[in-house]
Subunit: 403 residues, 2 copies
Amino acid sequence: MDRYTVISSDCHAGLPPAAYRDYLDPQFRETFDMALPMQKAMTDKSEQIFLLKEINDDWRAGVEAHLSGAWDYQQRLNVLDGDGIAGEIIFPDGITQQNSPPFGAGLSLPTQNIVAELQWAGARAHNRWLAELCAKNPQRHFGVAVCPLLWDIDEAIKEVQFASENGLGGVLIPLLTQGFKPYHHPHYDPFWQACEDCGVIVCFHSGAAPMDEFFGEGFPESDQSQYPGAVGIYISEVFFWTYRPLIFMLWGGVFERFPELKASITETGQGWLLPPMLRMLDHHFSDNEFSEKLGDYRGHLSMSPTAYFRRNCAVGASCMPRADAEIRHDMGVEQIMWGSDYPHPEGTWPYTRERMIETFKALPEDDVTAMLGGNAVKFYGFDEASMNAIAAEIGPLCADFTA
Amino acid sequence: MDRYTVISSDCHAGLPPAAYRDYLDPQFRETFDMALPMQKAMTDKSEQIFLLKEINDDWRAGVEAHLSGAWDYQQRLNVLDGDGIAGEIIFPDGITQQNSPPFGAGLSLPTQNIVAELQWAGARAHNRWLAELCAKNPQRHFGVAVCPLLWDIDEAIKEVQFASENGLGGVLIPLLTQGFKPYHHPHYDPFWQACEDCGVIVCFHSGAAPMDEFFGEGFPESDQSQYPGAVGIYISEVFFWTYRPLIFMLWGGVFERFPELKASITETGQGWLLPPMLRMLDHHFSDNEFSEKLGDYRGHLSMSPTAYFRRNCAVGASCMPRADAEIRHDMGVEQIMWGSDYPHPEGTWPYTRERMIETFKALPEDDVTAMLGGNAVKFYGFDEASMNAIAAEIGPLCADFTA
């Protein structure tokens, strides 16, 4: 191969809000019609407070057609081909928050001020549409179904089965479990069992964090001066809230009880923090003065948490910077899966090929092959021959990555 | 000097529970008498669940007299002299949880299931006793007053003034602000102002974490199997809950508004995570694709959060391992203050001299001088000549640290 086979471990897709109506179960459409203007208002407000509206508007200007690949299949293919991406993992929320599923069924899966039944309805609407999108070329598009797990395990298991039967290979579950049982609790075992049985991968994607603590309750616009630096706090903590559920699962022995279960964490920010976190998990699993006084908290594990991580988990390294590629051995070359984050504004598009080269230039070809696509092919179960066939046409030339 | 001047940045002291009675304001003594057996029962239960009772009993056996230095001044001096420690920073909670101030006024300063008025009363009892203890040799003992800040700013300011007027140089405030305003909120400005005005140092000490999430509500003993790995999760997260309030203060501009304010974080575990955290704060302060879309969250800061950290903060490196000494330049040599954690079971006593040598052997003498004591002398404001005079008698010989 003179081209790399590239899989983006982090892409997003979502319909324009009004278009979700047709995918909703009919009994929710009246509520949807009432909620739509409110959702629009909340999106606008969120853009004003959390993302800067002018920056986003500026970024969108003139590239609306390309960004419409968030829902338009032909535009999406144009972007993927242009970026040199053979296969992709698809999370919800298209262009920033503008294409979020209804009723709070988007990427961050909040549970506060949310009606469980409606969030499920929104998730199912999105999942139906996503299944249609991926069915256009199932080998190229790996869809992640939205699954608001915390409300009801049985409903969640049904959604795992729906995903499995409809060509969606992963389920997105909430990062924050506040007020619900945490993920080391055996309460979730039937869910992990279902995922393992169906070969459906548990996916965590960064974004959610305890915003109320950063911005104050309800994020009142008038009160921004009362929460100085809130955004700085958010972006400094967001990695932690993404690692956290996995750390609960690792220590809780989830991967001991379900050795075939797979879980990924995606867009966790700079990779500097992952190697010391893994080293710390190993340290705490080994004997030391600190752990000795705390009694037996390891007897239910046959391996260290880090060893489960290496066996069962992988990391979606969105817009991976050069610095992360340089410490790939500390992070674990086999766990790193490059991602473009299209169509989010912090993503690599429209400079994907340049950014890939910047990140991986002059590194050993085997490592680049693994990080750009090989690891994702294995972890998410893409058909390697199909991916290579597409990459042979559109993939970035290996020669461009040599010094 | 042929000996190092050693300051322990992390020591603990506390009365046997019943002895706090005499230091309480009289109106709380009846409640104290009722609560004492309950506090004893809770300590025992906590030892059974969280610390392993047998391990602690085993550790205490035969060294009860030395551990009584938690409250007995002469025994304390014997231990300090034996350890080669000239000066010390004193936090609450003596031998594990056995010498905690009454009414939940101990190290972790919980707010759940706590009566504010009683916690204040317990804190004041401890602070009165601690002031007496430190007054026996104010140059050698730097006491940290317990300050349950979250309930009431005005009460907290009074306690800062009490500390200042009674020879206590620091105030311990809660790590967890859940349900209360977080530390970037200007609500706390009068408190920071009082600390700055009085030259009282804000101290954070690790320990508190959202235990309910790890162990379940009320930590029922019968339900341990329902929270497998809870202790592993706790020890993997505890660093984060200790860094967190400082990160809120750094981004919130607290050190911008109060440039003379000082804050320390103590016993934050292995130092591997601090350098990447600092690097991340710097990264998020600088321009980059990710931060650009989030608007202006830096305009109120004249320096990066890490720069404030270097100027206004320091780290109590309890039982510092060799690995941390080796990465001292990443952590910032000038921020590292060694600590013994006496009389806690994970502390260096009774092997303090051996452990110091193990940690610092063959490192440049200037660096060792700074980390073992010089930094703490400057940060906490010890009298250098007094400390050197004591160290000349009892300090560890520099020659023992050469290769």
